[in-house]
């Protein structure tokens, strides 16, 4: 049940991100849309790793080693998301760096001003 809610939230975030990407003309807002989309995919990935009544895959007093395979959630999706968050942050940094450069060249943040690389 809980993972259904999380999954839906993640998918909605992706939709909002796509909407932001397509409708906004300000480059910064497009980047925000991109980040929202990325965050949504992270949430979806974590959600599909959930196992009913599962807990974090960390062996300690609460989760004994012998019962871990039956009670832990999927560690692979969590590990993938750790990776994805860092890469998402890196991609955002590159986009922002280019934005600064684009602003320098045209003194505007509107994507409509950059038509020369449009096909």
């Amino acid at each position: 049940m809980i993972s259904n809610i999380v999954l839906t939230t993640g998918l909605l975030l992706i939709l909002i991100g796509i909407w932001g990407l397509l409708t906004h003309r300000n480059i910064l807002r497009i980047i925000i849309g991109f980040s929202l989309m990325g965050t949504g995919t992270h949430i979806v990935t974590v959600a599909i790793g959930y196992v009913k009544n599962g807990t974090a895959p960390i062996i300690d007093r609460v989760l004994h080693m012998s019962e871990a395979p039956s009670r832990a959630v999927d560690p692979i999706s969590s590990a993938l998301v750790v990776t994805a968050i860092v890469i998402g942050m890196a991609v955002t940094a590159v986009m922002l760096a280019y934005t600064i450069r684009l602003y320098d060249s045209k003194k505007t943040l509107s994507i409509d001003a950059f038509t020369e690389s449009k096909w």
């Binding site: 839906t8 409708t23 790793g49 196992v51 871990a68 890196a90 940094a93």
Partner: protein, 240 residues
Amino acid sequence: MTRRFFVVVAIVLFGLVFASLAIGYTEQHSLRALAESYVRLVPQELGAPNVITGILLTYRAFDTLGEVAVLFMVGAGVVLVLSADRWPRAAAYGPEKPRQSSEIMQSGAQILAPLIAIFAAYIIMNGHLSAGGGFQGGAVIASCVLLLLLAYPQYQLNIEFLSITESVAGALFVLAGIAGLIVADGFLDNRILPLGQFGAFFSAGAIPVLSILLGVKVGCELSVILDGFRPELVEQKDQV
């Protein structure tokens, strides 16, 4: 007008796809085979209580290495894109001198920065025992650097030191991996060091060591990226 129409169509189509995904999704009742073997093998073979760290730093450590390489490239790319010609940027916006941060900001930074640094060290060192690890700790280090940069806009990060530290950490990471090839079963195998007692602070073989190296590397890389976004300071402009 037509653009708006296409946007709406695209959103609706994506929405339909996502809706079918959300409706067709059912919660798992047991782990998939691969995940189950990870959950079983990480504590047994690697001696690490945190299964996710075990996956990140041993079974899929090659991925982690590649990811760190991506981060490095991003750091280099950001510096390359932004530092080619900082003059017009500093002249276009921003006053002649960077504005001093407020008293509150500076005092807050003085109190918080050491705490954040200790917290980062804690996260990195406990990556194999509880939630945490090199990436997360490195990000926390970078947040500490960001706080300092906000509180003291004049402060010059020693980029050379950061680059050298980062390169050394990366080289040691790869060397640890090669040591795994020779001593243990494969590249980046954590059993080059004794596994120790399960759940103890010094345990899980090389995972804490790799965690530290990763934390240092990520922290340095993110700090370089953050520094790349600062406009050139006035004092430096005079020197050029």
